[in-house]
């Protein structure tokens, strides 16, 4: 009998210990990300160390996974019901996850320090389902040496595509397999150039496609005729086997509109002088904006969700985290505090870094819809046939319009 009482007491003791531990407010959450893979794991770890110092009651178990199969893996875990408490999504996948109700609204944290345009990218029906962890945009990068050789002046912020075309032709005329410009003929370029020419992929309230509008025909002609008519851009065959960055780094390409994430690679590998400018516009200016969303799993408990919201808000807007990010050259923090951002201006090549911030005035958000990936694939297919020169731009866009109408449900 005594033995029994003893056991009973010790069980009670263990149970109460457990209860005591629960009363203690330590929370451990899991955060899964891809954007620190490929070289920024340490920066993320430093950010976490800072966070944990400020919030000793929250521990974050960080999982870093390579970009390639990240989404296959994440989808499996979400569907299997064991997704991490908070995780990262790229902008293309964000809409699908949010629309399917697997994300939790982010509440109870101060978001005032975050760039409102960036924030709005992850707001659906008035609910904030994600925060912009960081962002990147696209600028026009040009080879100064080639501009000098061709005896033409450097691009300015006021350039239109006609100016760019003239410069491209002058550089192409240098001969020796040199090309003027390289802009991919893809979905991503299309929605941006369309905006520059005053067009859009949809009508005002996003209920119908308008890809074959007169503005879009002009926009696509501008993209395609560089290859098929004036030939200042290499075609698929000429390009085969070499990426667009490789072309630029080989010194045989005058201009390339590409992401600011190219800076470190170009700085290391270009043995010629280069700089950047805001991308040319046409009817108006429009520049790309890419951001990854950091989100909370809908199935996570309220207690963990609150901790996760704190962690995500810290990642997105804490000035110290932002400073770490700028220092590492790991994209840009989507914050409004210019004092922190100023460090970026003097962080090395290229010289005209203020063009990165000037570009932010003309941001165009990707037109995210639920069936985003399918839409992008359909658009790409028809742009490819226009770029091959076998189909006229008008026919390609009409076919694109028809296929989009058939396969994609808009609200």
């Amino acid at each position: 009998m005594k033995k029994f009482v003893l056991i009973f007491l010790s069980v009670l003791l263990v149970l109460s210990l457990g209860a005591w531990q629960q009363a203690d407010k330590n929370v451990t959450i899991t955060y899964t990300n891809f954007s620190s893979s490929g070289g920024n794991e340490e920066t993320l770890q430093q950010m976490y160390d800072l966070f944990h110092e400020k919030n000793p009651d929250i521990s974050v178990n960080i999982e870093t996974i390579g970009y390639n199969d990240y989404f296959t893996q994440m989808q499996t875990r979400v569907a299997g019901g064991t997704a991490p408490d908070c995780f990262e999504l790229n902008i293309e996948n964000f809409a699908a996850y949010a629309a399917k109700g697997v994300l939790k609204e982010i509440t109870g944290v101060d978001l005032s320090g975050i760039n409102p345009t960036a924030l709005s990218a992850f707001n659906m029906d008035g609910k904030q389902y994600g925060l912009p962890g960081s962002f990147s945009n696209v600028v026009l990068i040009y080879n100064k040496d080639l501009f000098d050789k061709a005896g033409i002046s450097y691009p300015t912020i006021d350039w239109t595509w006609e100016d760019a075309q003239k410069a491209a032709e002058a550089i192409k005329a240098l001969g020796d397999n040199t090309f003027g410009i390289f802009a991919p003929i893809t979905y991503n370029e299309f929605y941006k150039v369309s905006a520059q020419f005053g067009g859009s992929l949809f009508n005002e309230d996003k209920t119908a496609f308008t890809v074959n509008s007169p503005e879009n025909i002009k926009a696509v002609k501008n993209m395609v005729e560089r290859v098929t008519v004036t030939h200042v851009q290499p075609n698929a065959e000429e390009q085969g086997g070499m990426g667009d960055w490789d072309w630029f780094m080989s010194g045989k390409l005058g201009m390339i509109p590409t992401g600011i994430w190219a800076f470190p690679t170009f700085a290391e590998n270009c043995d010629f002088d280069w700089d950047i400018e805001v991308e040319p516009g046409q009817v108006k200016k429009a520049t790309h904006f890419f951001s990854n969303a950091i989100v909370i799993n809908a199935k996570t408990t309220d207690e963990k969700a609150a901790a996760a919201a704190k962690w995500l808000a810290f990642l997105a807007s804490d000035p110290d985290a932002a400073a770490l990010r700028i220092q590492a050259g790991w994209e840009l923090p989507a914050i409004t505090d210019q004092n922190v951002l100023n460090a970026y201006l003097t962080a090395g090549k290229p010289a005209n870094r203020k063009a990165v911030f000037e570009s932010l005035n003309y941001l165009v958000l990707p037109p995210v819809i639920e069936q985003n990936a399918l839409m992008a694939d359909i658009v790409n297919k028809h742009l490819e046939s226009a770029a091959s020169g076998k189909v006229s731009v008008e026919d390609a866009l009409n076919a694109m319009q028809a296929e989009l109408e058939e396969k994609i449900k808009l609200k």
């Binding site: 989808q75 569907a79 299997g80 697997v102 085969g240 694939d377 490819e384």
Partner: protein, 303 residues
Amino acid sequence: MEKRKNGLKNQTSAVPFLLPSFKGLIIFSLLPIVISFFLSLTDWNGIDSLNLNVFLKDHFIGFQNYVKILTGGEFFRVLGNTLYFIVLYIPLMLIFSLLIAWLMNKNYKGVSLFRILTYIPVLSSWIAASLIWKWVLAPKFGIANNMLSIFGISGPAWLQSEQWAMPSIVLVSVWKDTGFFGLILLSGLQGIDKTYYEAAAIDGANSWQQFWKITLPLLSPSIFFVLIISLINSFQLFPQVMIMTDGGPNGATQVMVERIYKYGFKYYEMGYASAFSWLLFVIIFALTNLQMKMQKNWVHYGA
């Protein structure tokens, strides 16, 4: 030995031998496969939590996915692409694997090195292999077209050309898989009793006759194996297409599993992808069954 037996006869004694793999079959294979069949009757998107509600109330749509697939043109076009791959790939792969196995089975200096060299493509990751092949097949600067131009042939645009993209994929796949199947065939060759050749040599058979009368029949179980496996695998051709062409140009290299993957994990139509897979299953199963039936005509087990 009074009675000729076809093996050991004992019904219950097979159970312990089969048990481990049978357990594996149920848990890791049959159960998920059966679930995937039920999923093919739904419009499940592949993100919502997978539970009974998915089948019973939220997403059940009957055979609509199958109707949609079979009445649309995409399935048959993609099936055509896949069959085109198979028709080119299997004969080439088989001939080269046989050749390599035969060369590896000889006794000469450096055979060990040769064996390792032929296996290196198998070991290389698809990422490295496709990067280099993209470069070899680059239309303007690639080695392939430079070599062809020596003979006055102006080479095609390979991966960038609608006609040549699939043959290019075949070329790279043969290069990558030959070492693997060669190794399988080699183990078949190693199993052939040397006394057969000695006897044949005494009878005055030349090496060509030996190949046809001894090697080929005795190797037929291995060849049969390679045929079945490579057929199943080629219907499920996937990584090389994703990395090298992503289905392009203009859909010329879209194949079954590439579509299934994209529907399931990119377009979030997992129900549709499951139905696609089950139609693929029916085709592979029918062809495999046919091969199994035909094996009696040409596959010889034992002497």
